[in-house]
């Protein structure tokens, strides 16, 4: 089936229950009524409760832990410290590489960051474990701490040559350019701050392990547990039907999971570990702090001649995470000369990780601020300068875009916002004490493709089931997979049940990289069409079928009923037909893997690593989602307080499987972008590397009252290259470009260019 075979949809109620309809989330009611069971709410008998004990120094080693007082506390069952050999082996990373120099030690004696686990205390109740943990006497030998990227002792770090990008002669073209803008841009450490904190319940039955843990990738996380404990993969089951926000943090198993599961095995009793809110700021990493020095060279008309980017990001001293600051820079504008390089600086932090639109977000902050600075330098409108430098093809890969509706996004966004009424000069619009600024910035996110597997069952009562191990982290997987199956099967949406979030179910990639919808709608559609074809074949051929003698050579399945195309034969419901031909169900399992991965090893690799991922330029085209954000800010002239007053954002994400859910993803990303621009910043104690604001009172996220009216506009058209059904990613692109749009608006309001996020009052007064 190709795109052309799918009926046209209007995205409204006239579409019924199928793809493109504005349906509410299937899991919404369960969640708001408390009926959705999250990982830590699983009713498991005989639980013991674990408390993680974090290091209170930024670097050094654990000299000794005196456990006597803690052991003597009531209810204590087990204490694990660096003195315990947990007997674990290393797990494979997402590149399918397994460190051979094991063992894996999640409770090491050496301390690389404040908050690193140094002990686990398990007791009969959470209160007992908490109290016993307090009684541990831990002696440290403190070492010198490098608290952050900008610390004096952090140094320049090491070059990441594999990330260097260059074409033309950027340095020379920059030197020769009549107009140059050069500046340094900074983004701070940021955190996922998902509503549902991390944690798990681990239960052993012999050498079989079940883990209930919030997950964006059940198969891969289950594999990590299996490898740590030296078990065959099928012995581990990781269950995660509902997730209270992941944003990139729940794709992997972490050390705390290994420690808790090891404790459960030692105790012979299921263990629950709830990572506390403060611990969520160090048990896994957030977005790395970055710094970019960016120079644009242009003609007097603002036509780009050169872009030179020199960036750096932080990682830990024990692991490598690259926040790729050049991720968006080479894509946004046509430029004949380009050079980007990045360095990586190791500091005393937990290893940072993926946070919604990793790389693209800090990258867009710099390039989209710089292009605004260029517009000012040459006296051009910020929208006009983007059109003057419009990239008609991918400037880096030199491939045509599959679809790039950026002109439409700029035009329709501008129209809806009223951009034409903007007065050019900074500080030229005001309302009493409030300076008004209008800013614009654009964003992008790559189309990433991969493979998936789904099982579709048509049941005797005429309903159907869709089953896969993919997860719904709030983005709407349940709903769009039901829509996909409904359309392919001709069975109403309300009669489709979807089961997700369990590594024992068919394979799926990570719910990350904005690819799951595109991948899994393709897999479900394939399985559902195969199930429909099987049903029709039975209806035509089974001796007990009413269609046997109609002479029809195909049948129509619609609204849960089967009929002949000419409309003159019998009409029977799916359930009735199955009854007549004596079948309980039709069950079909399909995957979208290519031939070379149709082996046990290939399948396992596809479901548990990133090695089968295809990037945006893997084929003949360069494929990305695009957006343009228009922002009005109001800045109190004397106080420096900034309020985002309204936003209009236009998106090209290809075809939308469910516009209501896509809009909610875009708005969620935009709100996160408002937080990034104005509020979010992990503050680190320079003496000991501790994240000071490790709670939701002090780590500021926007409240509803901080979020203005946001209007989102869809300018996309189906992209036949991007996915089976024509969609591009919607989940991450929304945050990309919001911070520079706000910073550009703040400049327009105040005449002050703020290049360090978040933008706080003191930068403006």
């Amino acid at each position: 089936m190709t795109l052309l075979d799918t009926p046209r949809k209007h995205g409204d109620a006239s579409d019924g229950g199928a793809i493109g309809a504005r349906l509410s989330r299937l899991d919404g009611k369960l969640k708001i009524t408390g009926a959705a069971t999250y990982a830590l709410e699983q009713p498991v008998d005989g639980l013991a409760y674990a408390v993680l004990v974090p290091a209170t120094i930024g670097a050094g080693r654990v000299a000794r832990i005196d456990v006597a007082a803690a052991k003597a506390a009531p209810g204590v069952r087990l204490i694990l410290t660096p003195d315990d050999d947990l007997g674990l082996q290393p797990a494979t990373d997402w590149n399918n590489v397994r460190a051979s120099d094991g063992p894996y030690v999640p409770l090491p004696r050496d301390i690389a960051y404040n908050g690193q686990p140094v002990a686990l205390v398990v007791a009969d109740s959470l209160e007992q474990a908490t109290e016993a943990a307090r009684r541990l006497a831990i002696a440290y030998e403190e070492g010198p701490v490098t608290p952050g990227l900008d610390s004096p002792n952090a140094g320049e770090g090491s070059p990441l040559d594999q990330l260097s990008v260059a074409w033309g002669d950027a340095e020379a073209a920059l030197a020769a350019a009549p107009v140059r803008v050069e500046a340094e841009y900074h983004t701070p450490r940021e955190y996922h701050a998902a509503m549902e904190p991390h944690g798990l319940i681990a239960r052993w039955e012999g050498d079989r392990l079940t883990v209930w843990e919030p997950s964006q990738w059940t198969h891969s996380m289950a594999r990590s547990y299996a490898e740590w404990f030296g078990l065959p993969p099928e012995n581990v089951r990781l269950v995660s039907p509902f997730v209270g926000g992941g944003f990139g943090s729940k794709g992997f198993s972490y050390g705390f999971g290994a420690i808790a599961a090891a404790a459960a095995r030692r105790l012979g009793r299921p263990v629950k570990l709830a990572v506390t809110r403060p611990q969520n700021f160090a048990a896994y990493g957030g977005r790395a702090a970055t710094r970019q020095s960016l120079a644009l060279g242009a003609t007097e008309d603002g036509v780009l001649q050169a872009i030179v980017l020199r960036g750096a990001s932080e990682t830990s001293t024990v692991g490598t995470w690259v926040e790729q600051v050049g991720a968006a820079t080479p894509l946004m504008y046509a430029v004949p000369n380009f050079s980007a390089r990045q360095r990586l600086v190791a500091v005393n932090t937990v290893t940072p990780g993926a946070l919604r639109a990793p790389g693209k977000t800090p990258s867009a902050f710099a390039i989209e601020s710089a292009i605004d600075e260029l517009a000012c330098a040459v006296g051009a409108d910020p929208l006009e300068i983007r059109l003057r430098n419009y990239a008609e093809e991918d400037p880096q890969a030199r491939k045509p875009w599959s679809t790039r509706r950026m002109r439409e996004a700029l035009a329709e966004g501008a129209e809806a916002f009223g951009w034409a009424r903007r007065s050019r000069e900074p500080r030229s619009m005001r309302d009493g004490h409030q300076l008004i600024g209008w800013g614009l910035a654009t964003g992008t996110f790559p189309v990433i493709r991969n493979y998936g597997e789904a099982l579709v069952r048509i049941l005797a009562d005429g309903s159907a089931e869709v089953v896969t191990g993919a997860t719904d982290i709030g983005q709407g997987t349940y709903t769009i997979l039901a829509q996909t199956a409904a359309e392919a099967l001709g069975i109403p949406f309300e009669r489709i049940d979807v089961r997700l979030g369990d590594s024992a179910l068919p394979g799926a990639p990570v719910a990350g990289g904005s690819k799951l919808a595109g991948v899994m709608t393709g897999a479900v559609q394939k399985a559902a069409i195969a199930a429909r074809d099987e049903l029709i074949a039975l209806a035509l051929n089974d001796p007990n079928s009413p269609f046997r003698d109609t002479g029809a050579n195909t049948l129509i399945l619609a609204d849960g009923r089967i009929s002949a195309p000419r409309g003159d034969g019998p009409v029977v419901s799916v359930g009735e037909l199955l009854g007549r031909i004596g079948r309980e169900r039709i069950e079909v399992r399909r995957d979208t893997l290519p031939d070379h991965l149709q082996t046990p090893e290939g399948r396992f690799r596809a479901w548990t690593t990133m090695t089968t991922v295809q990037g945006p330029t893997a084929g003949d085209y360069s494929m990305h989602s695009w957006c343009a954000h228009f922002v009005e800010v109001r800045v109190d002239e004397d106080f420096g307080t900034i309020r985002v007053a309204r936003m209009v954002s236009a998106f090209d994400c290809g075809r939308l499987y469910n516009p209501k859910l896509a809009e909610s993803q875009w708005k969620g990303g935009i709100i996160m972008g408002i937080g990034m621009a104005l509020l979010e910043e992990g503050l680190v104690d320079s003496r000991n590397g501790r994240v000071i604001n490790n709670n939701l009172g002090d780590y500021l996220l926007p409240t509803n009252a901080d979020v203005p009216d946001i209007r989102v506009i869809d300018v996309g058209i189906p992209d036949p290259h991007a996915s089976a059904l024509g969609g591009k990613g919607v989940g991450e692109v929304g945050i990309v470009g919001v911070a520079p749009a706000i910073a550009n608006a703040v400049f327009h309001a105040t005449g002050r260019r703020v290049r360090r996020l978040p933008i706080t009052l003191d930068a403006l007064v």
Binding site: T130, T641, L679, L700, P702, A705, D706, L761, D762
Partner: protein
Amino acid sequence: MKAPDFDYVRVRSLDEALAALAAHGEGARILAGGQSLVPALNLRLLAPEILVDIGGIADLSGIALADGTIRIGAMTRHADLERSPEIARHVPLLARAVREIGHPAIRNRGTIGGSLAHADPASELPACVLALEARIVARGPSGERTIAASDFFRGLYETALGPDEILVRIEIPAAAAGERFAFHELARRHGDYAMAGIAALARDTGAATLRIAYFGIGSRPMLAAGAAAALRDHGASEAGAAAAVRALGADLEPQSDLQASAALRMHLAGVLLRRALKDLFPDAAGGREEEIA
């Protein structure tokens, strides 16, 4: 996290409450709306032996006007102040300020007595009672005593109340004809505690009776007496405003924290004062906006 173990008693009268306090000494804590105390317990910042819940003492709640004085019972909720026609009419500064306390859910439970006794330097109501020259009435083993608001706030979370005393009510002179107030606060995020705020009151149309109180600036709510004196001397004019802002340097002891540096707070205090003066004296020197810029 969960609170450490504690005992709990819900008392029916003030005498019962005082007896409980006397019996447990420093180990007892009064529980009013619980909006500051319970979070502190759950974070295990406090570990009292017993909570003495005064929510069941009927005569601790309510708002009454008599002899030109508004009396507010300690257990009166923020939401009651917000909705009260008496407060709107006779203490409009309170009616304005109370809207800025947290969120509706907090205001439904939190009490004025709890807010004053807790003495968070960033809280609105302590600064308001300073500006209003309120009297705070406490009851202890030896009976009632009245403490002027200006003697009540001693330091960070520290008041003139003894451990055996209960704040029972607040007495505020009802607004006179011509009385004016100004109230402003700043927070980076809606609903948060203020990073700087001002509550100012003039009992008549001139600057002679002006009282200016700040919150969120230092370790306790503070009266800016020097600034008020400068305005009395120079009158409500640009010269007066400039002198008042200069005087803030001696009046205030701004502090640095995660939200703002002391220098930024000092700047904000000056802007807040100018904004407040503009509200209070719109007609100053002929009523032209620029007069106090």
